[in-house]
């Protein structure tokens, strides 16, 4: 469960209803009661119902039924439903639908990618990058977790991932090799991962103490060749494939002896087609 603050929930609601629902106000339907129900028009992995429950609670809407995030459901299934005043159901209609369809879109596609990769190699982690739409981070992380992936890095503060740009700043590849022992001594709990596209550099880094190598935008074949040679000598080292990997080509990458696939492709998943029904109740 991702922890959403009350402020975050309020912000989502307020964005769509800064003051009132003018249409409901002018129609005078505030006090009528109704049942709202969100259902899927396609097979999906649900996601976001816990947040929709928080939204319901803020408006005094009673939860009638719901499926937890991560449930695999067929087209036509009800996902969540609630009962409350008609005006308040209009307040939460669109924001709830937008959460449910976008999150289910990502969770469903993640599940597909995880299953695809695991059918080739059950020991590969699916790791998602930091390249989502700004403002969606908590919902996006929740969605990939619901689909079976984990975040590559939540942000810059908690992992060590060294790029060419870093090496340029400290004096190049050799300078990095010299510094590796000090970095390990300073921060022993983290794996030190370095990005490179060069097999020789990768081997040398492993020899000198790096815990893992990230290969960016190499072909499945190249990665396989390099990975095989590294794993022969350093079976404990972590090897990651990144750059342009998605549902269509992931199973090719999974044939290499790698430990993880890093991808941004899940964040732009097409939203699941979520329908909404609202009917008066007494």
């Amino acid at each position: 469960m991702i922890y959403f603050t009350t402020e975050e929930i309020d912000r989502l609601i307020s964005e769509d209803v800064p003051y009132i629902d003018l249409t409901s106000h002018l129609l005078g339907i505030s006090s009528k009661r109704a049942r709202i129900c969100f259902f899927t028009r396609e097979d999906a992995v649900t996601c976001g119902t816990e947040e929709v429950i928080q939204i319901f609670e803020r408006l005094g809407i009673q939860v009638d039924s719901f499926l937890p995030s991560g449930s695999q459901i067929p087209a036509g299934s009800e996902i969540i439903s609630g009962i409350g005043e008609a005006e308040k159901l209009h307040y939460i209609w669109k924001v709830s639908q937008n959460i449910l369809d976008h999150c289910a879109g990502i969770a469903t596609k993640t599940r597909q990618l995880v299953d695809t990769v695991r059918s080739v190699n059950k020991d590969i982690s699916i790791l998602t990058t930091r390249k989502g739409f700004p403002g969606t981070k908590k919902l996006a992380i929740k969605s990939i977790l619901a689909g079976g992936a984990v975040p590559h890095r939540l942000g810059l503060s908690e992992t060590i991932l060294i790029f060419k740009q870093h090496m340029d700043m400290i004096g190049g590849f050799d300078a990095l090799l010299e510094r590796l022992p000090a970095i390990k001594a300073g921060c022993c709990e983290k794996k030190i991962i370095v990005e490179t596209i060069d097999g020789g550099q990768a081997l040398e880094l492993c020899r000198r103490g790096a815990d893992g190598i990230q290969f960016d935008k190499l072909s499945p074949g190249s990665i396989k060749e390099i990975a095989v040679s590294i794993k022969e000598q350093y079976p404990e080292k972590i090897l990651l494939a990144a750059g342009g990997i998605h549902l269509e080509n992931a199973s090719l990458y999974a044939q290499a002896p790698i430990d993880g696939i890093v991808t941004s492709s899940l964040y732009n998943a097409r939203p699941i087609n979520i329908g909404v029904k609202m009917v008066p109740v007494k």
Copy 2:
């Protein structure tokens, strides 16, 4: 220009850097200076540079060059560049790239849709729905504006749009007709728009005072037929086509004598491929 608060800018930065860049800290590169440059790898309409400038300013990064949102640029063009401490450039790298690629993606696709529709009928408004990814509203609205569209509704508080669910609450279609004069008297400045898929209802609504009709998920042919008959009698009434309209089918809809096309399809535009270069400077 969309107004972003300091808190919103800070939230974007903090999401990626809650404390520090651990890698830069351990490498000790805080005080090195460098130039960062964001460029496009495809033809695009730029968007989000004003927000990236605010991000630069928060970190004391000096803007070196930039193109305003809405600029049409060819592949290879620099979009924005800045000079500052290497550690701080790492702080803003990914969030800036994520703003620029997602916003340019939407702006570029919006521009295409607007141009496609206007080439058929130059008097049609392109209107975008409220169906974006929760948390992206300001950036998404900025992006569709940069591409030449306008928001259909910013939220529920400022427009009158009556759906079947509203009618169900007040006693059905005839009850609505009776109430129309009172609604107009209560809120004279707004156009009263009603959604229907029935041509007869649409005509009756126009006769009784509605200012516009929104047709949901009708075929281009059906809309054209109904629109022609309404415009004959009520040339001033606003007719909108909504539901499943996107870049591929929009020109078909544009052949009807309608005033606006309402679409959600722009929000999920594929991000533009934005590259980043960072080089040391003195």
Copy 3:
């Protein structure tokens, strides 16, 4: 119902109680229970009780009775009452009273203005400007809605209202006339309203496509004369009277064939005299 976030409710409470009620702390009355009751000393339209309920809930005070916003009540009536710990009743005493008296003040005066105008012409909208005390917007909008008015504009983002200052920027009146068709094509759902004090300009604007005219600070007689001549030719165009209109002179303006009266006068309504009683309970 205006949507107040938890943060907004908390801010109201905290403003008066940043830490504790020092007096209650030193007197040691924290655990005593009491009933607090807010009542009106004059005839009034109630407003703000829903927000006071949210305040009660934040402090664990049980609502004992309340009247919804918009109720017309005679002097002496109880508006809202609650039961809880004495210390916490002191926390919410003043902020609740301040909400109830200011909001009822506006709602009551709005009701009077609406009734006054409607007794002359039942089809006139009462529209309130953006000229309230900064910081009071949600409560002020809630109050005028409770009294039967609607906001003229919630802000700058949702309506098109063209002033002389705009014309000066684009090249004057004739430049505006030329641009009108493009503005309509870009944003078909909104009414385009232009402010002027010149009858001839008003007629020309209507002829060229403006949807409405706002007359600023004209006398009732002048507005009537111009409005009659416009409505003869353009019965569908919206005519608004603005500038210096208040309870005392509104019925004069209502004699013109206008559609709306725009006023700032309601925001400074004298607060209703609200009394508070607090008695120990077991």
Copy 4:
């Protein structure tokens, strides 16, 4: 100077411009430059210019001239002016005007009240209650300070003011007398003030250690009589008159040997009539 946070300034701006100025956007005047000038149409004490400067700075508007809060100026005087992009001047127009007119309204009326009272008795403090419009506290406090008053209590956390409701909770008047020494011992730095309307109680409270008495809704004559008798015996005790005191009757109260006048009447001061001019510049 009242300290306004960036968030508070941003909230004021965003309230009026949640996204854009739609009119400016459609007219395409974003890049034109202009000078905006706020001036008073009546004699006034200025207030709020420091906050308008913060607003200007957030939008990149250059301050051209300004008068600090508290300046006494004649009708026709310029208060503050700035130069910037026309679109941004529209963003800040109304919120700046609303700050300047409401704050000057309170500051001007406060100055009048202070001068009126001081002309009778120069040693009387003018103290303002906590009965303002919720959401306006910082601006209202700033305004009464600019006019020469001070706040009676900023909130509940910093002063000791004992009402009948407190006594009811601890066992009545005699119970309070018994507790006074302990309260003084627990919090020696604060003055202990008790509200009563009974001269005998007031004397007894002074004898037993209260530092001051607040008289609520007594006539000027009654207060004078009681105050004279208390000051004879206890010249150091603080005596306050509260309840229904305003500009018209304050000089009557000032004839009693009291130390302070407590009033809510200043918060609802009529806004000063502030005009705005905007002219294109190069």
Copy 5:
């Protein structure tokens, strides 16, 4: 009771759980239920349980038992316990423990100081300065209140305390004496306190109208001597000892006829050793 906003509670939780508990997620223990119990390993004055209850409520954890802040308990006592989902208990474990141990540390040491001083002189207030760790103010104030002290000043806005630095700005000691009557007339409800280390100045200030004197970093003996001489002439004036006073030397200061002891020493109290047990329940 200190009023904590929902945002403040959420911030405390989110700081430790920005997204998820990764360990619980990977172990799949989300749905298991358990009981968590916080107990003290040393004699203590409890503090912070009301805030931990708010934390429990945000996560749907049911409170099983708790002791209110300010309770004096022996080693081994349970302080608060709750029942809920295992994952959520991990979310709140550390933040709850950190509140309980730090707050109890301050409350316990405050109680000791208050008891020590009161055993010498029962009429002395224990007053705590503004020198806490930034970010801890509400919890620290709550803790010293729970232990029997009160805050010297909550901030700069509510008291008058004049230092040498102020005198330097207005022209020195004599200039201050001249201004005292005007300050008293402007703000009659506050005690005017001046800091000095000079007995002669102190006497002169009392003679000219100051309500109290704060002595900074004088020895117990010096303060006693000066205080005796002042109290002879001015028994009503407030005398405060400040600077370097703590549990070990406070009883020496308490032998002087002073009214209050001002100390910063309580804020850095060693946290109480609080243990946590968590056991599965059905």
Copy 6:
């Protein structure tokens, strides 16, 4: 550099100055200019100057000189100084001093601990727990970084650390051993660390794939014995000593072949004695 948001800086300032400095207001010293200077009265490692600079900037105070966080300085050294209006210097005096003394306290003590441990074994990381005073996290993390330590865990979302309580939830120690491969496959980039006090369990965990072991509250001798036996077989595994380790006993622990020392003892470091001088300037 820790990233502080504008809101965080504003919150620190506002906490001490919710409205005004009442003393400065009544003394009328707003417009006088002065220089404020913060200096240390003891040898110290500076910390927090970057945040004080942000505070200066918010109030328009010009930075005159400053030392970056992490500088080792002797008693008497100036740390930071600024020039501005006297009233504003009073606003920032205490909050700046509180940041500088608490942060330097932690940084100085951290530096001592790091140096002590490194003099015995230069490859040991000093890691700080999550047991700080709630509300101080960013400043505390900044301070330990300035002193040469790194955070053990920033929160629960980014590391895998398995306690006995986790094992209890999934069926005990053997159940954990069975699950280890799946956890590694799901999250390959993180080190899996398990806490135990049993040498046999530790060996078995290493054999089955754990990346490290944390030993809680063992004596230096016991840890050394266990660590030696593990490192013989598994030199790559990470061994951590935690529980009751502080400046006085750390060098004993450092004699074991461990990789890191985990400690909470630094967060309660005594604040460094920081003095403040303020002198008028022209």
